[in-house]
Amino acid sequence: MESRDSATAPAQPDRGARLEVLVDAARNGREDAIGQIVTELSPLLWQVARAAGLSASDAEDVLQTVWLRLITHLDAIHTSAALTAWLVTTTRREAWRVRGAGRRQIPVDQDGLAAVPDQRPGAEDLAVAADLRCELWEALGQLPPHCQELLRIVAFVPRPDYNVVAAQLGMPRGSIGPTRGRCLAKLRALLASSAEGNPDDASRPERQADR
């Protein structure tokens, strides 16, 4: 694969290379290659669908649709970054379509974390993960919805593909959206201020500035 993204992060280089080999094999009709890609990237697409506000069963339907559609698009996909970006974009579009169709009623203003209120870590999870995880969760919840969605998705993207996917997510629905760098900076500021014990001072101006 000569067209590897030269700006890739150094971590996990073999994951990207392996995906490209699998895409190549899948294009040549190797059934098991598709299956391995499904296993590799479905956890990411699950987060994409859930971050878009879908119920668990709608998310499953959407993933099934997206994977079926990928098979007819394989000819146009050659790099790991292109594969990941195509899958993420198609999953988001399909999720919006399903959500817009209102098959199951989910309020439109629920976004990002707010869309999965029952998914907060339970008491047992928190006991294991202790305060740090709890602080991170609180800080994420204070981010603007687009930042929540972007960071949630990008966190699951294979590292070499961060930039390509983040750049696509930076342009949601025609608006100039928050970028990964700005969202991470906001998250850091929230974490820092919560460490100082006064989260409101830092979060309020940030949130207003973004809107």
């Binding site: 499904v38 479905s42 956890p43 998914q119 995880r133 930039n163 983040a166 900076a185 850091r188």
Partner: protein, 169 residues
């Protein structure tokens, strides 16, 4: 801050630095714990893709009495599941055997004699429905499984193959 954005230009052209990656790792771990993908989902998608080439009619899960389809394996004793397609309704009753396998009794409506496949991770089991549309798989390993009702053999009534969504037994 790692990414001062004084100029207002997007910062996505820059590769994330080590502290960005560490923070994103934490975010990933958080969501993996808070909202994990169902562990069986990739397998069920793979099953689905494997039968996509068949000339098929897709059945939808339309009713289930008892535990959810995604029930934690072994949690339930008996459940009844109904799948609906344009030409066929498939009802199955799943009961736990003593030896850890399950027994599946099924009915096709309208009643017709068809070959039924049950694709499991390990093997594909087959059974023939009788004229009344009844079929049974006596010992089925637990795990992901998918029902496929094969094309009808009767001349004059060759129904299409019907594929039900994969489920976890």
């Amino acid at each position: 801050m790692t990414h001062p954005d004084l100029s207002g230009r997007p910062t996505d052209d820059e590769a994330p630095d080590e502290s960005d990656l560490a923070l994103l790792d934490e975010v990933r771990e958080l969501f993996q714990a808070a909202d994990p993908m169902p562990a069986s989902l990739p397998d069920r998608i793979r099953f689905w893709l494997a039968v996509r080439d068949l000339e098929v009619e897709a059945a939808r899960l339309c009713a289930e009495d008892g535990q959810a389809v995604l029930a934690v394996r072994g949690a339930e004793q008996s459940r009844t599941i109904t799948f609906d397609s344009d030409s066929l309704t498939i009802m199955i009753r799943v009961e736990a055997n003593q030896d850890g396998t399950v027994r599946i009794d099924g009915w096709l409506a309208p009643a017709q004699s068809r070959t039924i496949e049950l694709r499991t991770v390990a093997e594909t089991l087959t059974a023939d429905a009788d004229d009344g549309g009844r079929f049974a798989f006596r010992r089925v390993p637990r795990g992901t499984a998918q029902l496929v009702v094969r094309t009808g053999r009767e001349p004059g009534r060759p129904g299409p193959a019907v594929v039900a969504p994969a489920l976890v037994l």
